[in-house]
Amino acid sequence: MKRKEFIKKSTLTIGAGIVAPYILPSGRLFARTGTEKAEHVVMVMFAGGVRQQESILGRYLEDSQGVNGAAGNIMPNLFNGNAPTKKVVYGLDIAGQTKGSDPIPRLLSDSLANKGMVFNEVRAQSAGHYVGLNTLLTGSLGTAQGLKTRPVSPTIFEYLRKHRGFKATDCWFIGNGIGNSTPLLNSSNHANYGLDYGANMFIPPITFGSYGRNILSNSKAYSNNELMPMYEMKNFLNNSFALEDSRQTTIKNTDDERTHIKEFMRGIYTKQSLGQIAMPPAASSGDAFNVAYAAEILKEFKPKMLAVNISEVDGCHSNFTGYLRSLHRADHITAWLYDYIQTNIPEMKDNTVFIVTPECGRNLNPNPILDENDWVAFDHSDANALRVWSLMVGKNVPKMSVGSEGNPIGRLTDLVPTIADIFGVYDDVMNAGYIDPSAMSQFMRV
């Protein structure tokens, strides 16, 4: 080889060696950061089918049960408006008084609606839970989405990992149960995205509930010197088996990330035994449990994107009083999570966009099931179940109220484009071709 040719080739080789490690999975050399609005997004998928009437419209029993003079806001942390004064049953139980007659004190000094941007009347694309949750996480219409299968379209986690270069522990989905299709929402099986770009996931009521403690709390804490040979041998065996992408059954973290997650889990079991898990003060339900562990994950991993699902409001199918109580508590625990970020996670305090939105609404007309107060219950299948709201607060989010009951603006499929917009990868995500064609970033709607 001639000297000139040798120098040319060696220079190219060295250059490629320096550049190659920085090429993103999408093939881009540098992540797009020019238009990034915030470094973190937390989305609360709220809370299992919420009627506009009892939530953002503050009508309490007036519309649903025909009780005159019983309007009022039972979600004081999220929305504005005075609390109901008539037939108050959604609060805490005080001995010797009517059950639920003591509303939970407001946690935040000002409502989230006053701090950020509210879309008062948004169109949901489905009246069902799973397609609704899919819509929130994929931005697609979900028309071909089956149950008990992973999302058909890529999730926001996959978009962000592929186009923004986030690692697995940057993206988390916190589910509320292993029933139905919830544990499949951390990733699609899409050929161009899929499990290679999926999010980490815990279902706290299981992972950190009694089952998790029974099965995993006895696990060993290996030192790095012990872990390294295990990982090396395992990587050899995996390379030898050479599993194709299409046969992957799980998302994957790096060895270091796996070690971090395992340490976190062992730490949680220890904290549980010491009673050190922070919980919302006035709620102890499954949703509160879920949100408490979402807070632990936020504190430990400071993820770029975390979505947490809560669902107890869905009891409205057969118990309207229970629905009101769950709605009031969902407001409380959502506010607690927001406050927890502000007060306990300085790295995320002024750097996060906090999004709250239901996956679907509920019917206008009731079913015939009566509860303890002889109030009728509501399912979710009619046009009223396609009426929802969304709320966004945090860095670079303007303070404004958009749309009204007679002037709906936006769609639930807007959420994924909005998050992509926050992270500066809007064009990549929209151009991928899997988003609802009518969707757009909420920042562009106003």
Binding site: F202, I203, K220, K234, F241
Partner: protein, 167 residues
Amino acid sequence: MRSFSYKVIIQLIVINILIFNIYCTKEIHLNYQVNAANIYETKAQKFKAKNEAEYISILYTNLYQKAIDPMVLFQAQSVLYSIGDQNVAKEMLLSGYFNNPNILIPSNAEMRKDIPNFITETYKRFYLRYPSEAEKVYFTNYIKNKPEVTVEMIYTAFSTSDEYSFY
């Protein structure tokens, strides 16, 4: 008293002989000269993923040499399903099993006494196949060169590997 004639008796004897000849034949032992062989899997044939219940019950039986309690299986299955990264879940589950003194595995001294045999037995135990020459060489060298490597580490690597999740 009724008496049979000789003719009738002879007829009955003939009928009996015919019945024996028609319905009873001598068993014939065939030998096709096929050599006895042990059947093992190859990794190329493993294309079906074990579900959580299959993975846990097979692993438990492998390590404890007894069947898992159905309630414990149900709980473990639910826990695995609740964790996004199955590698994390399986590594946690397995390290808990190793924390149990009832586990039945060879000692480190036994492993180092006859490394090639240990490797072959480990491949058969977890993968139901023999190791390739390359695999034998890798593990022989790895175990020989790293005195800190234990049976527990090797078993962890095998039982949390991709191949062990398929059949």
